[in-house]
């Protein structure tokens, strides 16, 4: 599975437990992602996909704990000090969340929230950071970004907010982007636009991307490799082509069978979500 170059992000035997360590929501998961590569993680809701991403970021909710190993550029992340993880978050490993409606703080303008993200890692004046923010908004296709930067999140539609989240994640040009169902809450046309955008931005930055979704159709468009999850464990892992055409695993076949045949992007978002 490992490419010829050493992987950027390597997850080995990752286990996430909740409660008193009694229940594990992710069990013995392993995968690698290299620069410019996209890994799709597919599974039903509750299969532990989001927990995997949060464990990589070190942002597990209260009461959840991760064990195993997560290395970034060869350095172990699990158990690393919060202050050191903080320096990686956003700058090296960024994340886009599922719910764009709740992911931006309603009390601040989107410009201020982008500026804040930039200045958390780069020493820049407010004005310089604002220029970066406006450019980032422009890049994700927000029209009239200079004016819109002064608007509050509730003045944007869900799709626009997700674009803003992406702008925020990309303004520091991270080397790894974790996307947790970024299009699930959006309607189909907006979904297609966001996926196009992500693909384009990834190509420009040669960034590694982990794309988490319940939607096989999305994965088939975006990812070179796929990891299928169920109940916190890996079902199978391989190139997208192999998994989609030759998979013999019954669970994968079941997922594939539920795909409509003609349309690559389907509209069953709520079905499995």
């Amino acid at each position: 599975m490992t490419g010829q170059h050493s992987p950027l992000l390597r997850v080995q035997d990752l286990t996430v437990t909740v409660g008193d360590g009694a229940t594990s929501v992710v069990e013995g998961l392993s995968f690698d992602v290299g620069p410019g590569e996209t890994l799709g993680i597919v599974g039903e809701s509750g299969s532990g996909k989001s927990m995997t991403a949060l464990a990589i970021m070190g942002l597990l909710p209260r009461g959840a704990a991760a064990s195993g190993s997560v290395t970034f550029r060869g350095a172990e992340l699990l158990g690393r000090k919060e202050s050191q993880l903080r320096k990686l978050r956003g700058a090296e490993i960024a994340m886009v969340f599922q719910d764009p409606l709740n992911s931006l703080n309603p009390y601040y303008t989107v410009g201020a929230q982008l500026v804040e993200a930039y200045r958390a890692h780069r020493s820049a004046t407010r004005r310089q950071a604002r220029e970066v923010a406006v450019a980032a908004l422009d890049r994700v296709g927000i029209r009239d970004p200079r004016r819109r930067a002064d608007h509050y999140p509730d003045q944007f539609s869900g799709g626009m907010r997700q674009r803003i989240m992406i702008a925020m994640a990309l303004c520091l040009e991270p080397s790894v982007l974790l996307c947790d169902e970024p299009t699930t809450a959006l309607d189909v046309t907006v979904q297609a636009q966001i996926l196009d955008l992500l693909r384009q931005l990834q190509r420009e930055n040669s960034m590694a991307m982990v794309f988490i979704t319940h939607d096989l159709a999305v994965v088939s468009q975006l990812a070179e490799r796929v990891l299928v999850m169920r109940g916190g464990e890996e079902v199978e892992q391989g190139t997208t082509e192999r998994v989609f055409t030759e998979s013999r695993h019954p669970y994968t076949c079941q997922l594939l069978d539920s795909l409509p045949r003609l349309e690559p992007v389907d509209d069953r978002q709520e079905g499995l979500g």
């Binding site: 320096k87 969340f97 931006l104 703080n105 309603p106 509050y152 003045q155 989240m165």
Partner: protein
């Protein structure tokens, strides 16, 4: 904004008018006859009728109300000839008990209540907000358990009980503090401070307990919001995540609460002032109620209503600055 202000002001006036009319109705229909009380035991029906006429109590309900309201805006004249006196607007009449002008009485007593409320508010905000905040951030720590216990005990302690117990311990048993009484600051700053110390602390304990519970649960709710996770995911420093993203949304509702509580106390901390014998508006209220001194009751009730209504207005307007969604009128 102008239209909004006009609507809000109109609502305030309605609340005040209703308070005024209701209080008047209670006096008019239910309350024992003040004339008989003033007249005392050796009293003839003629004498009662004369007192009633002097006080204007013989007038029909609406006429009494009209006179009272016009006195508020235009002042009133009392008596004739040499006894004539003018009561300037806002005229609330004269105390049945002491014949003092109610307006003067209120102005006289207000500083004590303001001192009491302000000192207590500073204390309870410090303790309540900080306690609740740290408690939420260090959930399940020893500190958190301490704050939770303090909150529970504090909101369950009746203030008069707490006041009497503290007074017993600190004044009677240990003699550390003098009996509280409202000494003006200019007269004896040390005694002033010592006199207010216990009332401040007692009021502050009860409110700080309530606020620590509220702030704690607000901050915990906010910390679970998606935008706080986003802020952490951007690599923001912990203190910035807390200060910018957790604190502001958590404290905005506390502003409402504080506005209302503070205004209520400015209008007299009835129990605290009564227990500690501080001559503030609250003591005036409870004394006047004990003696059925209707003009004074009317005065303190209206003042309390005015303060609450104004606080409501101030809170609503400040929301427009605190919460951008309210500012633009989106829900």
């Amino acid at each position: 904004m102008v239209g909004y202000l006009v609507r809000r002001l109109a609502a305030c006036v309605i609340v005040l008018a209703v308070v005024c009319v209701f209080t008047f109705m209670i006096f008019f229909w239910f309350s024992p006859d003040p004339a008989a009380q003033i007249c005392g035991k050796t009293c003839t029906p003629d004498r009662i009728a004369q007192i009633r006429a002097n006080l204007g109590l013989d007038q029909p309900f609406l006429e009494q109300l009209r006179v009272f309201v016009s006195g508020l805006f235009a002042g009133r004249d009392w008596g004739t000839g040499a006894d004539a006196m003018h009561c300037a607007a806002p005229c609330l009449g004269y105390s049945f008990q002491t014949n003092e002008s109610v307006t003067d009485l209120l102005i006289d007593r207000l500083p004590v209540s303001v001192t009491l409320a302000t000192g207590a508010a500073v204390l309870w905000l410090l303790v309540g907000v900080l306690g609740g905040l740290v408690s939420a951030v260090r959930r399940d720590s020893l500190w958190d358990k301490g704050v939770l216990a303090f909150g529970l005990v504090g909101i369950s302690l009746p203030i008069y009980f707490l006041a009497l117990v503290l007074q017993y311990l600190l004044v009677v048993k240990l003699g550390w503090l003098p009996f509280p009484r409202a000494v003006p600051f200019t007269e004896d700053p040390v005694l002033w401070f010592e006199s207010y110390l216990m009332p401040w602390v007692v009021l502050a304990i009860v409110y700080a307990a309530m606020y620590s519970r509220i702030v704690r649960s607000q901050v915990i709710d906010t910390l679970e919001q998606g935008f706080v996770r986003t802020a952490r995911a951007k690599g923001l420093q912990r203190h910035l995540v807390l200060r910018r993203h957790a604190l502001r949304p958590s404290l905005t509702p506390v502003v409402t609460l504080f506005g209302m509580d503070f205004a209520a106390l400015l209008g007299g901390a009835l129990i605290t002032e009564t227990v500690f014998g501080l001559d503030g508006v609250g003591k005036l209220a409870s004394d006047s109620m004990a003696t059925n001194d209707q003009p004074v009751i009317m005065g303190v009730t209206l003042l309390a209503a005015l303060l609450v209504v104004v606080a409501n207005l101030v809170v609503d307007i400040s929301y427009r600055f605190l919460d951008p969604r309210v500012r633009r009128g989106t829900p």
